[in-house]
Amino acid sequence: MEATFPPPRLLPSGDSAITVEFSKVIDETANQRVLALDRALSEAAIEGVTEAVPTYRSLLVHYDPCQIDFATLGEKLLALAKRPVPPNGKTRHWRVPVAYGGENGIDLEDVAKALNTTPDEIVARHVAGKYRVAMIGFSPGWSYLSGLDKSLHMPRRQSPRLLTPPGTISIGGVQTGIQCVAAPSGWHLLGRTPVRTYQLHREPIFLLEPGDRVTFYAIDTKTFAEQEKAAENCEIVAELMAS
C-alpha cells in the first residue's frame, strides 16, 4: 500500500543534527512513522549518521557534518520516510508491577478527588491500559507511554517537584510514564515500580525499547520491598510476555 501521508518537515538542529518532524501533536500514527523511520535509518546505515533519538512526533538524527551535509542527508531521510510503515509485528510486551498509592504514590488520592472518583478506580483504569513506549528521554530510562485512558488525562502540576523518587509511575497530560532515576517532575505520582528501566552492570542496561508494549499490575508494599531487593541484585523483575 502506498503511503499517503504528507512528507515530514526537515528542521535543522544546528550543524550536526536534523529534526525530522512528522507532527506537532501527540499522534499514534505519527509515532508509528517515527519508529518506522528509526528502523529504516538503522538498516540503511548511512555513513556519517551517528545516532537517532525517536520521540512522540519526530526523529532527531545526529550526524557528522564532516561526512555528510544537511541537504544530502535530508534527501535520504525523506526517501526513507516515503516507505510504507510496516505493521508492528514483533513488539515485546512487558508486564510491570506497581505499588500504587500511599507513600509510593503520594498524588493518588488527589488525582481521585480531582477526577471525582476513588483511588481504587484510578488504579483499575491505570492497570487496564495497554500502553506503548512512545519515546525514552530526558533522563536515563524515562519511558513515555502512549495509550492512557482518556478519563485519566489531566493537566500537569502547577509547580513541578524538584525531586521525585526512582521507579515513579506517574501521569501528566495525556501521558503516563515510568521514571527510572530520581528527577524533577511536574506529573502526578500514582505509584512506584521496582523495575529499573536503566541499571548499570545488568544485561541489558536499558530494559525498554521505543515501540515496546507495556501493561501494569498492582502489587502490595511487601511484594514491592521483595522485588526492590531482587532488582538491586540486577534481576529484571518485569515479566516479558510471549507476543
Binding site: 528542521l11 535543522p12 538542529s13 544546528g14 550543524d15 550536526s16 543534527a17 529534526t19 518532524e21 507532527s23 506537532k24 501533536v25 501527540i26 528509526d38 551517528t50 545516532e51 537517532a52 533519538v53 525517536p54 520521540t55 512522540y56 512526533r57 519526530s58 526523529l59 532527531l60 545526529h62 557534518p65 564532516c66 551535509d69 544537511f70 519515546m135 525514552i136 528521554g137 530526558f138 533522563s139 536515563p140 530510562g141 524515562w142 513515555y144 527510572c180 532515576v181 528527577a183 536503566y198 548499570l200 542496561i205 536499558f206 521505543p210
Partner: protein, 358 residues
C-alpha cells in the same frame, strides 16, 4: 602507585572526556568536556589521544599533589594563576609536578573551565566508552560524581619527555553564531529579532546542564509547551518565563520547550567559557555556513599536533607569566568592548574561551 591527589577543589569540577555516544535514544545524555578544544590541546601536549579523560576544573581554585612519583601534566582552558611549589607555570603547556609537590591554581580569569590532563590519561572503568562524570545517571570513573578533596587519580610515572607548549589558534572573537530552529516558527519575527539584536548575559545559576540567559523576555506565539522532542548540545530552549536556556553537555536528551535556535558546534565552547555576567550577542547563520565552520573546527582539532612547540627557554620569564596568567586586562571572546586588546593577527588569544594578551 604513582598518583595525583586532589588536595583542594571547588564545585563544578569533574573528570570529563569526549563524552558517551549512542545511548541518547535511552535518555542517556552525552556529557563530556565543556571545551573540547582545550581538552584536546591538553591531551595533545602529553601525547595522549585528544579526548582522553582529564580533569575539568570549574571557576574556583584547585590544588593537585603528585604522590609516589613525579607526574607529567598539561594545563589549558580558562587561564588562572598557576604555580608548582610557588614557581609560576604557564598555561597551554606541559609540565612535571615533582613527587610531593603541589600544583596550585587560582580562580578562572575571563573563562570558566580549565583542563588538567595527565600523561597517559586518567584511567578507570568506561561505561558506554567514556569515563565522563554524569552524576544524575550515576556514571563516571574513577568517581561517579564531581571531584572532592582527597580524591586520587592514578597516574603513570613522569616519562621525562621534553616539555612543550601549544601554539594557540587564531582567536575567534565575535558573536556566538546560531542556526535558527528547529522551533523558530513558535516565535514571531519580532521575538526572533529581539533574540538576535539583544545583549545577553549568562546567569550565575548556570551549570553543565544548561546556561540560563539574562536579557529581554522572548515571547512565544502559541504558549511554551510543545510535545517533547530531541535536544542537542547548544539547543536554545525558551521556557514559560521567556528567559532562554542554552542546553549544555549534561542536558536532558528531550525537552518540552520550543527551541528558537541552536548554537553552532564550533562556538559552543566559546559560550561555555563565557563567564557569568559577561555581555554577548548571537548572530544567525545558515546551515551551510554553520557546516563549513564545523568542518574548519574539525580541521583545527586535527591540527593540534602540528601546533606543538618546544619550550626553548627553561628559565621562567616571570613577567610574561604574570601577563599570561594573572593579567588584569583579560579579554572576552564574546564581549566586543574588550576586543581591542587582541592583537590584529588574533594570535595569543589562547585556548581558553577568552583571549588574553601575550
Amino acid at each position: 602507585m604513582t598518583k595525583i591527589v586532589v588536595t583542594s577543589i571547588g564545585p563544578a569540577s569533574s573528570v570529563q572526556d569526549g563524552g558517551r555516544h549512542g545511548a541518547q535514544r535511552y535518555g542517556l545524555t552525552e556529557s563530556g568536556a565543556m571545551d573540547r578544544l582545550a581538552l584536546a590541546a591538553a591531551n595533545t601536549l602529553l601525547g595522549n589521544t585528544p579526548f582522553a579523560a582529564s580533569v575539568e576544573i570549574g571557576p574556583f581554585g584547585a590544588a593537585f599533589t603528585a604522590r609516589e612519583g613525579a607526574v607529567r601534566v598539561a594545563l589549558t582552558g580558562a587561564s588562572r594563576s598557576a604555580d608548582i611549589a610557588g614557581q609560576p607555570v604557564a598555561f597551554d603547556s606541559s609540565m612535571t609536578i615533582p613527587e610531593n609537590a603541589t600544583l596550585t591554581l587560582g580562580f578562572a580569569k575571563g573563562g570558566a573551565f580549565s583542563y588538567l590532563a595527565i600523561e597517559g590519561g586518567i584511567t578507570g572503568e568506561p561505561m558506554f566508552g567514556s569515563l565522563a562524570v554524569n552524576a544524575r545517571a550515576g556514571l563516571g570513573s574513577p568517581y561517579p560524581r564531581p571531584l572532592q578533596a582527597g580524591d586520587e587519580l592514578p597516574a603513570r610515572a613522569a616519562s621525562g619527555a621534553p616539555e612543550r607548549r601549544v601554539e594557540p589558534p587564531a582567536a575567534t572573537n565575535g558573536p556566538i553564531r546560531v542556526v535558527l530552529g528547529p522551533q523558530d516558527d513558535e516565535f514571531s519575527d519580532e521575538a526572533k529579532k529581539l533574540f538576535l539584536d539583544s545583549e545577553w548575559m549568562i546567569s550565575a545559576t548556570s551549570d553543565r546542564m544548561g546556561y540560563r540567559l539574562e536579557g529581554p523576555v522572548i515571547k512565544h506565539l502559541h504558549g511554551h509547551n510543545i510535545v517533547s522532542d530531541g535536544t542537542v548540545n547548544g539547543s536554545i530552549q525558551v521556557p514559560g518565563n521567556g528567559a532562554p536556556i542554552v542546553l549544555m553537555m549534561d542536558r536532558g536528551t528531550t525537552g518540552g520547550y520550543p527551541k528558537i535556535a541552536t548554537v553552532i558546534s564550533p562556538d559552543l565552547r566559546r559560550l561555555a567559557q563565557t563567564p557569568a555576567g559577561t555581555a554577548f550577542r548571537f548572530k544567525a547563520v545558515s546551515v551551510v555556513e554553520a557546516q563549513a565552520e564545523a568542518r574548519k573546527y574539525a580541521q583545527l582539532l586535527r591540527s593540534l599536533p602540528d601546533r606543538l612547540r618546544p619550550i626553548e627557554n627553561v628559565e621562567l620569564n616571570i613577567e610574561a607569566l604574570h601577563d599570561a596568567n594573572v593579567a588584569g586586562h583579560a579579554v572576552s571572546a564574546v564581549d566586543a568592548d574588550t576586543w581591542h586588546h587582541v592583537p590584529p593577527d588574533g594570535q595569543g588569544a589562547g585556548l581558553s574561551g577568552s583571549g588574553r594578551p601575550t
